[in-house]
């Protein structure tokens, strides 16, 4: 039999058990490891040096002191903290520490300090990466090196060191070598490890990783047509709307400035997806990305829906998710168009006012040409709510308000060549395909304002290009 004890000086209970360790050392083979100071415990002449935490890591120490009994080199029993009965059981010795209290809890092992498990897994070889390693020489700036290699979207990145990537991977239960799909345009198999590397670069925290993986899953559905969205001449890029409890858990912003800057999760999740398309998929502006003008949201566009009012059905629930589910909805969106409907006081009239702005999407004289997101602010929502309206009422009200007779928008009318094909002049035409108007609640109070995010022109083919909602998993 052999005993192992793992201790640290910076632990009152470890100090308490020093006389017991002295007793055991006189009775059997005892090896003591100290995590912070090998001169401790002095009465035993010090301990083996485990300041590298190698023993603590390999023996999976969570608490100090830990006492372990080995038989033929294999662990048979262990106890954590000080408990006389347990120490006697593990060691086989009797009447240990009669002057000590019966029990006293231990302290946390240094190997469990924040970030330490990932650091130790890297150091002692338990975490392997398949991605190749790029050396940064002493005189090189890693951020400049990332620019030089074409890894960035024009903004600086967080250098994806092995430790940062290991910590990022702690945000998911998926294996690093699991394949999340083939990323366009080059249809490259993308691993969770590559997702984590690009998430680090974008500035994500590990807890954002499941949301990012949900974005990837949604955007890679064939019906989303990510390749076409990348390659289009149109303005659009992927816009991700997050629903469910995860949005609050990771601190996403659905309130004031929800579509703007200032929130880490909002700003980095969409960016990480776009870096994946660039770095893994090979989609680079001016190459496969043929956008004539682009839009600022192509750096990354992700926000959460405001779900605080139970009178409003969340977007993902309206699209078939069970209530309480965390989801991401992927949309092909342009920039933000403001709607200042400030004179409206009644629901139907507000619908007509919002509809005028929505008709501008794509082109004011085109019908069923592209989709749109309408982000309704709290003050506009209050007008609907005051009349007892919920999501379906707003959807129906807008659908009704979004009909125009062909005569008003046919080609040539108003001296504008653009327009719908000639036909029955009295026929009422819809602005959007069925389901093509995505309505969400977002924003802060104080203004009778809402936002329109226009959609991709290829959405005019709803069989080929669809909005996708995907559940967020681990």
């Amino acid at each position: 039999m052999e005993l192992i004890a793992v201790v640290k000086r910076d632990c009152e209970t470890c100090g308490l058990v020093v006389p017991v360790l002295g007793t055991l050392a006189g009775q059997c083979t005892l090896t003591v490891y100290s995590q912070d100071d090998p001169t401790f415990p002095e009465p035993l002449g010090g301990a083996r040096d485990d300041t590298s935490l190698e023993q603590s890591y390999h023996r999976n120490i969570e608490i100090v002191p830990t006492l372990i009994r080995l038989e033929d080199g294999k662990e048979q029993a262990r106890t954590e903290g000080w408990n006389r009965g347990e120490w006697e059981t593990v060691s086989g010795a009797a009447a240990l520490g009669p002057e000590l209290p019966a029990s006293q809890p231990g302290c946390g092992s240094r190997s469990q300090e924040p970030g330490m498990p990932e650091r130790l897994a890297l150091r002692f070889g338990a975490r392997h990466f398949t991605s190749r390693r790029i050396d940064v020489e002493a005189l090189d700036d890693p951020i400049e090196l990332a620019y030089d290699r074409g890894w960035t979207d024009g903004l600086p990145i967080v250098p994806p060191t092995p430790l940062r990537v290991a910590r990022m991977l702690a945000g998911t239960g998926l294996a690093p070598d699991a394949i999340v799909g083939r990323l366009p345009p080059n249809l490259i198999e993308c691993t969770v490890e590559k997702v984590a590397i690009n998430a680090v670069m974008a500035g994500c925290r590990p807890e954002y990783l499941p949301v990012l993986l949900g974005c990837v899953a949604a955007a890679l559905k064939p019906e989303f047509s990510m390749h076409g969205l990348l390659a289009t001449l149109w303005f659009s890029g992927p816009v991700f709307i997050v629903n469910g409890p995860i949005a609050k858990r990771i601190g996403m912003n659905a309130e004031g400035n929800a579509l703007g800057q200032g929130n880490r999760a909002n700003s980095t999740i969409g960016r990480a997806f776009q870096l994946l398309i660039r770095n893994v998929g090979g989609g680079v502006p001016g190459e496969i990305d043929r956008s004539v003008l682009g839009n600022p949201g192509k750096v990354g566009f992700c926000f959460a829906e405001d779900e605080r009012d139970p009178a409003w059905a969340p977007l993902n629930v309206s699209r078939g998710a069970a209530p309480g589910t965390s989801s991401v909805t992927a949309f092909h969106g342009d920039g933000v168009q403001a709607v200042g409907a400030q004179a409206s006081r009644h629901a139907e009239e507000l619908c007509r006012s919002l509809a005028m702005a929505l008709w501008a999407v794509g082109h004011p004289k085109l019908s069923r040409f592209s989709n749109a997101i309408l982000a309704i602010s709290p003050d506009h929502w209050n007008i609907f709510k005051a009349e007892g309206w919920g999501r379906t009422d707003v959807e129906d009200g807008l659908k009704h308000a979004l009909k125009r007779p062909r005569s008003e928008i046919v080609r040539g009318v108003g001296g504008v060549a653009e327009g719908v094909e000639p036909g029955d002049p009295d026929e009422l035409l819809d602005k959007f395909h069925e389901g093509g108007l995505v309505i969400v609640r977002a924003g802060g109070p104080g203004g009778l304002l809402s936002a329109v995010i226009g959609g991709w022109s290829a959405q005019r083919n709803p069989q080929q290009v669809q909005i996708v909602t995907e559940e967020i998993r681990g």
Binding site: R132, I134, D135, V136, L145, T161, E193, K194, N198
Partner: protein, 95 residues
């Protein structure tokens, strides 16, 4: 617990080599402007004079630039002037 070497994990599909390839030289200089950057070391100007003569003889446009000293990297304004005006650059003369 510092790493001896600072490393980054490659975020790309790893379709290109770790050591980046040089840009391919242009196939044709007929519409190009060739910059000649003198590093201001002895005999640099004489060398570049002969390069300029050879290029001009072929009808190729040439623009001359000079670093103030060969002991330091080119100042940013010189680099930017070359980028602005030239398609390719010849730098000389070192030993």
């Amino acid at each position: 617990m510092r790493n001896d070497t600072y490393q980054m994990l490659d975020p790309t599909a790893e379709l290109s080599p770790v050591i980046r390839e040089r840009l391919a030289p242009p196939a044709d200089l007929s519409n190009a402007t060739v910059g000649l950057l003198c590093i201001s070391k002895e005999r640099s100007e004489e060398f570049l004079d002969s390069v300029e003569a050879a290029l001009s003889q072929r009808g190729i446009r040439v623009a001359r630039f000079a670093k103030p000293t060969h002991t330091k990297p080119a100042p940013e304004e010189v680099v930017q002037a070359i980028v602005e005006r030239c398609d390719v650059v010849v730098e000389g003369l070192a030993d």
